[in-house]
């Protein structure tokens, strides 16, 4: 999806000035998470849904409310469309948002999306009025089908969740971007800031990451790096890079004759 250089990110009915979507998973404690979220400049942050501990709340929602960060509930841990649809409905009830990061993974070892269950769940949730952001394989065909199903964005992986292997198939990401009529959010696999920048240079509208920041030695500093990486990649994408040449091309004038 091509966008103006100064346009905000638009997902469904919601506008975002930041193009870095953060995950909250993996942070050692809420204080570290808060510093990282603030440094990242994020306006949208994922949460998971789990059994409530009546002996004391997690404080996570209070933190996000205080920071003015919108909540993007995920369906992490779901293996079937039915599980994901139920989790999404519970999330909407608990968090009063129609946004959902739809995750339906095939197995624990790869955490790769199960394409059949994913598409089934996406169709059901769109019908149910959700703003669906599916975590998907880096597959242009599946991405197209998710968009046709009515998803508000597509979120292809760079590499498997938590691996930090970066973007293993940049060409696929470019093909997804070239065809998409909705924002493409690079989700999963980012390890460092240059990879976040690359995602944006490939034409993605945003980057979603968690582990790369929350499990970095210095999460706050890495969050700053990621914010700058996303901004740099976005600016470079819209600045019009030079063509690649085979031979050198001097930038200084020809030497004066002897």
């Amino acid at each position: 999806m091509s966008e103006q250089a100064d346009a905000p990110l638009i997902i469904g009915d919601e506008k975002f000035d930041s193009r870095l979507i953060m995950g909250t998973g993996g942070a050692a404690n809420l204080e570290i998470l808060e510093r990282a979220l603030v440094a990242s400049g994020t306006e949208l942050t994922t949460v998971a849904l789990r059994r409530v501990d009546v002996t004391g709340g997690t404080g996570l929602l209070d933190l996000l409310r205080r920071l003015g960060i919108r909540v993007l509930p995920n369906t992490a841990g779901c293996r079937t469309a039915a599980e994901a649809v139920l989790t999404a409905r519970l999330a909407r009830e608990a968090l009063e948002t129609d946004l959902v990061k739809l995750e339906v993974v095939a197995d624990e070892r790869t955490l790769l999306p199960d394409p059949v269950e994913l598409l089934d769940a996406a169709e059901q949730l769109v019908d149910d009025g959700f703003t669906v952001l599916p975590y998907t394989n880096d597959d242009p065909v599946l991405s197209r089908k998710l968009e046709q199903a009515g998803c508000a964005a597509v979120m292809p992986l760079g590499s498997p969740i938590g691996t930090g292997l970066g973007i293993r198939n940049p060409h696929n990401i470019e093909m997804i971007v070239a065809e998409a009529g909705v924002p493409v959010v690079l989700d999963a696999g980012i390890g460092t800031a240059s990879e976040a920048a690359l995602a944006m240079e490939l034409g993605c509208s945003a980057v979603l990451l968690a582990t790369a920041v929350t499990r970095a030695a210095d999460p706050e500093r890495m969050a700053t790096a990621m914010r700058r990486g996303v901004e740099a990649g976005w600016a470079a994408r819209h600045a019009g890079r030079i063509p690649r040449r085979y031979w050198a091309h001097a930038s200084s004038p020809e030497p004066d004759p002897a």
Partner: protein
């Protein structure tokens, strides 16, 4: 069963009462009974049957 643990109900088996007795906060949670979402607006009249599985969920850290 409430979140996987046995839970005795005293008095009226109405969902809102059961949740209050268990100390569940009113905001930021969602409830499923036997695998179906029970909207907050229905908690006051939703009756729990013997052996029902009640799941109460909230937001936690996650990617």
């Amino acid at each position: 069963m409430l979140n996987g643990a046995n839970h005795e109900i005293e008095g009226e088996p109405v969902l809102a009462r059961v949740l209050a007795d268990a100390g569940v906060p009113e905001r930021g949670v969602a409830v499923a009974v036997d695998g179906a979402v029970v909207p907050r607006a229905s908690w006051g009249e939703h009756r729990i049957s013997e052996g029902a599985r009640v799941e109460v969920l909230t937001a936690v850290q996650g990617g």
